[in-house]
């Protein structure tokens, strides 16, 4: 069982590591790739746990939850409580952004979908009106880049 799971992790790693880091998934969306390989995203937690030879009790204890809760989360089709994701990333020493994407908490950044020269400033914004479109998200990133640049120029002048 453990060997089979380890092989599955290796396959996922081999198939997706490069393309994901390059911001591309060989013509199909990351969503499709993950959906095709993983019927239930949360199986990643079980795979990581088995790959790193940790018991449910150990992992639950390190995440600050009960063993029963961990098992429930691993079997659930719902998103892993987002508050646990940074802890899981630290526990298994995996990249937080990639883990967020694999577990379904985050999409590939809007700016990665097309050639775009704006710098990527991770941000949280409060805005009025409806949900931003993909283009608006890219424009927002550009706007923030301009503001940061403007602010830097102000600082340099002073």
């Amino acid at each position: 069982m453990k060997k089979k799971n380890k092989e599955k992790v290796s396959t996922i790693k081999k198939d997706f590591e490069g393309p994901i880091e390059a911001g591309q998934t060989q013509g199909i969306s990351l969503q499709e790739v993950l959906d095709n390989y993983l019927d239930e995203r949360n199986v990643i937690l079980s795979l990581l746990r088995v790959y790193f030879d940790k018991s449910s009790t150990e992992v639950a204890s390190e995440l600050g939850i009960s063993k029963a809760d961990l098992e429930k989360i691993e079997k659930s089709k719902d998103l892993v409580p987002y508050q646990l994701v940074p802890k899981i990333a630290k526990l298994f020493d995996v990249d937080l952004k990639t883990l967020l994407m694999f577990l379904g908490h985050a999409n590939l950044p809007a700016s990665n979908h097309e050639s775009d020269d704006s710098s990527d400033f991770p941000l949280a914004a409060q805005y009025s009106g409806p949900e931003l479109t993909r283009q608006e998200k890219i424009d927002l990133q550009k706007l923030i880049a301009i503001i940061v640049e403007h602010k830097q120029m102000d600082k340099d002048t002073k």
């Binding site: 939850i65 409580p81 937080l96 941000l123 409060q126 927002l140 706007l143 301009i146 503001i147 602010k151």
Partner: protein, 276 residues
């Protein structure tokens, strides 16, 4: 972990209280801006509609600038607030961004990922928690309890809370009623016309009830209730009174209770505090 559970709400409130304790700021006075500075956050107000500032920017980007009210860039440790944001809303907006910087998992996630790239469920949960944090920074539970203990149930106490917290009259009134252990209710109203064109007041948002009110009366008024110009609640608005608020009485159909009503109006909003 249920984001909306009492346990998690208490955890977020505790983070806000810990931040106050860390900076030895357990009394009224220190603003969210004070805490931002203490935490090493750079705070800037930008006129995002300023033509000189955006003169080299495309029309599309100018368009997006109009909807952005506030933002935080965790890696840059920078908080931006639009100068156009109404002054009464700024403290809460600042407290909200401070929350993203203080709640550990927000800080870690927003360091690597923009909020708008997150799943909508995650975003809603993070926004909820940041709002709880902002509310607790502006209205710390121990200080609110002291207000309830030492001052009478009155619109005057809500105005006092507004002054001490630096929050808006709107959020101060909501916080006051939500945390009250007395039977009271807040109606948030606005000027409106009925189908026949008559002036009056109608609900701007949901009625806010204290827990004792909810246990005793549930919701006594229908959400589509219209208070005509000659209604006792409307008189405070249409009489042109210069008093900070008007004290009146209100009888609600279906009860044999005469409620006290304190009505505040500031040209933007009408707040009616009802109590027995």
């Amino acid at each position: 972990m249920d984001t909306f559970s009492d346990k998690n709400i208490s955890r977020i409130k505790l983070l806000a209280q810990d931040l106050r304790a860390k900076h030895n700021a357990m009394e009224w006075g220190p603003s969210p801006e004070f805490f931002m500075k203490k935490e090493g956050l750079d705070y800037e107000e930008y006129d995002l509609s300023d033509r000189s500032f955006l003169k080299k920017v495309s029309k599309k980007i100018k368009k997006i600038s109009k909807v952005i009210k506030a933002a935080i860039l965790i890696p840059e440790q920078l908080v931006l607030i639009d100068t156009d944001l109404h002054y009464a809303k700024k403290p809460f907006g600042q407290g909200h961004e401070l929350g993203h910087n203080t709640i550990p998992e927000h800080k870690e996630i927003l360091y690597v990922c923009s909020e708008h790239d997150l799943h909508i469920k995650v975003r809603k949960e993070m926004e909820f928690e940041a709002n709880i944090f902002a509310s607790e920074i502006l209205y710390p539970t121990p200080l609110i309890e002291s207000i309830h203990k030492n001052y009478p149930l009155s619109m005057a106490t809500i105005l006092l809370l507004k002054e001490r917290s630096g929050g808006s009259i709107h959020s101060s009134a909501i916080k006051y009623v939500e945390t009250s252990q007395k039977v009271c209710c807040l109606l948030i109203l606005e000027k409106a016309h009925d189908d026949d064109g008559n002036r009056g007041l109608m609900f701007k948002s949901q009625q806010i009830c204290s827990r004792p009110w909810w246990r005793k009366h549930k919701r006594l008024l229908a959400d589509n209730q219209f208070f005509s110009e000659d209604h006792t609640l409307s008189s405070a608005v249409f009489s042109g009174s210069l008093e900070p608020f008007i004290k009146t009485e209100l009888e609600i159909r279906g009860t044999d209770i005469i409620f006290q009503a304190h009505v505040f109006y500031n040209r933007f909003i009408v707040l009616a505090l009802l109590f027995e």
